[in-house]
Amino acid sequence: MVFVLLKEGTALQFADDRHAADEVMERYSMDRLAGQELAEFEEHLLVCEPCQDRLAREDSIRCRVRDGAAILLPRRAEVLWQWPKWQRLVWALGLVAAGVLIFAGSQWQSLRPFAAPRAVILLRATRGTENPTLAAAPTDRAFILMLDLSGLQPFSEYGIEIVDSAGKSAFQSKARPQNDRLQTILTRGLPAGTYFVRLYSPALELLREYPLIVRGV
């Protein structure tokens, strides 16, 4: 039996008696494998216990890093915000001055800040073991909604609707998929509550529905 998975024209996957490479395992864990690559990996996974164990470990690391980092990063931001105003100002001025100096003496590209983007809420169809709670977004804050399209019929464009618990439409948008994912930005966020994110085909056929909780951080 020979498996050859291709990425950008390069054979990177196992042949004959080999297992999946770490990179393939990571991409699968992050739902980034698609098409033939996905099919071949999953077929291998069905009969390969070492790869099942490796994938379980990969899922666990990803889940824990996400859990831990999601707490760690906002905490740091809050601590910074709690400093007295004058201290923040002094620090800000100092940082600006340092930034200007460094920028003048080196390449800008290598100094792009390690800045946190908006909250990203990833919605998957179902992922029982790794996602014991529902996807949750912060109340009244902008966030990026990312929908996993794995297993769906591909369309060039999808309709997205968010309805509240009474079925009232709270948000509507259209988006084009990229890498089996659909992304949309809710610039004004949503009030606290339970919502359902609905995904529609261009013919307005309901394809999938994801629950979403919006609550205070």
């Binding site: 999946a20 999953e42 890093v65 707490i71 390690f114 029982g128």
Partner: protein, 219 residues
């Protein structure tokens, strides 16, 4: 073996479990031979269970695995598998259909439930105090482990797993070559896993001669 040194530990030389001849196995199942069904179960049961559990969670798992095997075996017996060499692909298709059907059921039942009771939209599993406590504890453990690894390792893990930045972007913004990135990521993951295990082990205290009891982690 590969040149970059990363794929070596992953794409290693460990042989995949010896595969039976699919055509032979399919023929045995077609003839309804018990050892054919046993073999089918032995080869696929762990993988099917793993896949279903990963996609749908542990509830009703035994029933789902059982249903899947029934469907596969009956389909083979009816001669629906035209290419016996494609048995793995066929099993995968059946398992994926099972997952899709279950998700559809969930959506439907939630909608029916919603129609019946306007106040009950969705179950927030976070409200279960025990689950919430376990999740909180796991999160705190993950925070402690992240704090204890080198800042650059932490940054790589956060960029890669939380922000899902592509390797190229991480390399550019952190000034790393592709090989450096893969080595650092591999090391960071190993360190994260090792520290996590160590911290969990610290929480275990002897209880009886051969038993260990888990005690809550303080702070």
């Amino acid at each position: 073996m590969t040149a970059n040194g990363i794929a070596e530990d992953a794409a290693d030389d460990r042989p995949v479990h010896a595969q039976p001849g699919w055509a032979e196995l399919v023929e045995k199942i077609r003839r309804n031979e018990p050892d054919g069904l046993e073999e089918l179960y032995r080869v696929f049961s762990r993988g099917v269970r793993f896949y279903l559990c990963r996609q749908l969670g542990p509830q009703d798992l035994d029933d789902r695995v059982h249903d899947t095997f029934l469907i596969v075996a009956q389909a083979i017996q009816r001669g629906e598998l035209r290419e016996p060499d494609r048995l793995m692909g066929y099993v995968r298709t059946i398992v994926r259909r099972q997952v899709a059907a279950q998700i559809e059921d969930n959506v439907l039942s939630r909608r029916q439930q919603f129609d019946l009771d306007w106040g009950l939209a969705v179950k927030d599993t976070g409200s279960d105090p025990e689950q919430a406590a376990i999740r909180r504890e796991n999160q705190q453990l993950a925070v402690r482990v992240l704090k204890n690894i080198a800042p650059r390792d932490r940054e790589i893990l956060i960029r890669f797993y939380l922000w899902e930045q592509p390797a190229g972007q991480i390399c550019t913004e952190m000034g790393l070559t592709d090989t450096q990135f893969r080595l650092l990521k591999s090391r960071a993951k190993a360190r994260f896993g090792e520290l996590g295990r160590r911290k969990v082990t610290k929480r275990l205290v002897p209880f009886g001669e051969n038993n260990w009891r888990e005690i809550p982690l303080k702070g």
